[in-house]
């Protein structure tokens, strides 16, 4: 009986997964409907707020970017090794928050910040982390690390920060 239940559950899960997949495919206007880039994000964890009390920030050094750039440089990649090994062993969910300096228009910067967070996420996935445990959010030019202006402040603000969900 137990076995039958398990089997039933398994079939149900597969069916649910299958229909879910199909639904996702239907959302795309493109002919082929595949993902050209990036790995889809996992569902959110309700109540996990990057700047809230249930997320530990500052455990890892931020990754910094050049002006209008989404490239994770070789020196910044080394920081990610540490993040990858820590998260791999803790199996906790990671939120990567992307930020920009305050030059440029706000909405473009929101997109740019998200792209930075996703570039870091992609790099972590390529280091063997599961994308299913890594979420992203962009604050664009909000919440600067250095509220000043000038090149030194701008450089501090073009960043991706890490938060570990408790």
């Amino acid at each position: 009986m137990k076995k039958l239940l398990t089997l039933g559950l398994a079939i149900f899960v597969i069916a649910a997964f299958d229909s879910c997949k199909k639904k996702e495919g239907d959302q795309f206007a493109g002919v082929d409907g595949d993902y050209v880039s990036g790995t889809p994000l996992p569902d959110r964890i309700d109540g996990a707020n990057f700047f809230g009390g249930n997320v530990v920030r500052g455990q890892f050094s931020p990754v910094y970017f050049g002006y209008d750039s989404i490239t994770v440089s070789d020196s910044e990649l080394m920081k990610l090794e540490q993040v990858a090994s820590a998260v791999k062993s803790s199996r906790k969910t990671l939120i990567i928050a992307g930020f920009t300096d305050d030059r440029g228009t706000e909405e473009y910067n929101r997109g740019l910040g998200e792209k930075r967070a996703q570039a870091v996420r992609d790099a972590l996935i390529s280091m063997g982390l599961s994308g299913g445990n890594i979420q992203t959010v962009s604050f664009g030019e909000e919440m600067p690390a250095d509220p000043g202006s000038g090149d030194a402040a701008y450089a501090m603000n073009r960043r991706a920060e890490f938060g570990v969900v408790k």
């Binding site: 493109g30 993902y35 228009t105 962009s138």
Partner: protein
């Protein structure tokens, strides 16, 4: 002698070269505005005069030189307006209600429509972001800056407002959940719903001309891409598929096409795509950095933020292809008449007449103001 003549011919051009704006007489119709009668006449006249001035279509002159005479009376929130020609022929006579300011705005728009055949901008609303409270919150106001209302009190980050074309609904990006979500507000009832909350960043909503759909930027599939969905947030369809960042969709007048910004090929550039999907077709502008486009309601022009040293408001004529930089600032949005844009410039929102270059600040004194949106 020939040289002297040439010099004399050039001289006025040199003398007037510093004058950036030349309003030719033929561009405006002369009208005389007689102070309206009634208890609210003086106040309504003030609103009306400002509307007529900002419209750019009129010069206000003494009655003997005017092509049209404007008069009427206002009291108890309604206005009886009248436009006559010099021989006393009635061109427009109508009663307006809805409060002193609204009535005056509606009268102004009818004067514009009657005299020029164009749509007016006076009876419209704007929404924008202000840092007045120390946080970014969304506010609405009339297009002339009056009737200021704070719409959000989230104490978080509330940005990227978009008014529906009829001004009844507002979409914005809010961070209350810790992520960037799109909220919808029914402005009449105040009812608010978090309606787009996919994983990642959901932002930059833009209503279709009929108000029935929104386009926005979602990152749920691993990259910020454009999507179109119903105005209730349902049935998201992906439009773009690139490795770059797609943002700031703006709709064609018939709702069949969308222009947006993408940095897929380096710096952000403008592209056009079918609202049903397909591939983006580049729009050349001559600028290496172009963001936050706004398509004029008549479909003929495109305003956007361009970077060349600082940031400036550029307008491209989509038929001739000519692009001109008209002012320094960011985030331009076209008004109902396809002639004026409102843009942000640090601590003010500025009304820019793209026909004569005139700039009038309409919102000031609210901290840093940004991301204006304008009902049509």
């Amino acid at each position: 002698m020939k040289r002297l003549v040439a010099f004399l011919l050039i001289l006025p051009a040199v003398l007037f070269a510093q004058e950036t704006i030349t309003i030719r007489k033929g561009d405006t119709t002369s009208v005389a505005l007689k102070t309206l009668g009634g208890a609210e006449g003086a106040a309504a006249t003030k609103v009306l005069q400002n509307d007529l001035d900002l419209s750019g279509w009129f010069s206000i002159t003494p009655p003997e030189r005017a092509t049209y005479l404007i008069g009427g009376s206002a009291s108890g929130g309604s206005l009886e307006g009248q436009v006559t020609d010099p021989r006393g022929g009635v061109v427009l006579r109508k009663t307006y209600s809805g409060g002193l300011r609204a009535a005056a705005h509606k009268f102004a728009d009818d004067i514009v429509a009657t005299v020029t055949g164009q749509k007016g901008i006076a009876n419209t609303k704007i929404a924008f972001v202000s840092t007045r409270t120390g946080r970014k919150e969304i506010y609405t106001a009339d297009y002339d800056g009056a009737n200021l209302k704070q719409i959000t009190s989230d104490g978080s980050i509330s940005v990227a407002p978009a008014l529906s074309p009829d001004g009844s609904k507002l979409a914005y990006t809010g961070y209350q959940s810790g992520y960037a979500d799109i909220y919808f507000v029914d402005l009449a009832s105040g009812a608010r719903n978090r309606i787009v909350k996919f994983p990642g960043t959901n932002s930059g909503a833009s209503f279709s001309p009929d108000g029935g759909r929104i386009a926005c930027s979602l990152s749920k599939d691993g990259n910020p891409e454009l999507y179109v969905m119903g105005a209730n947030g349902g049935g998201a369809r992906r439009l773009t598929k690139t490795k770059g960042v797609e943002s700031s969709p703006t709709w064609s007048p018939d709702g069949s096409q969308i222009i947006y910004s993408s940095d897929d090929r380096g710096g952000p550039q403008l592209y056009k795509i079918s609202a049903g999907g397909g591939s983006g077709e580049p729009i050349s502008t001559g600028y290496a950095y172009c963001t936050e486009p706004s398509w004029s309601p008549d479909g003929k022009k495109l305003a956007f933020t361009a970077r060349s040293g600082g940031f400036s408001i550029a307008v491209k004529d989509l038929r001739s292809g000519a692009t001109n930089s008209l002012a320094s600032g960011e985030d331009p949005v076209f008004g109902a008449n396809s002639r004026h844009v409102i843009f942000s410039s640090g601590s003010s929102l500025v009304l820019l007449d793209t026909q004569n270059g005139r700039q009038i600040p309409v919102v000031t004194g609210l901290g840093k103001v940004s991301e204006p949106t304008w009902s049509r």
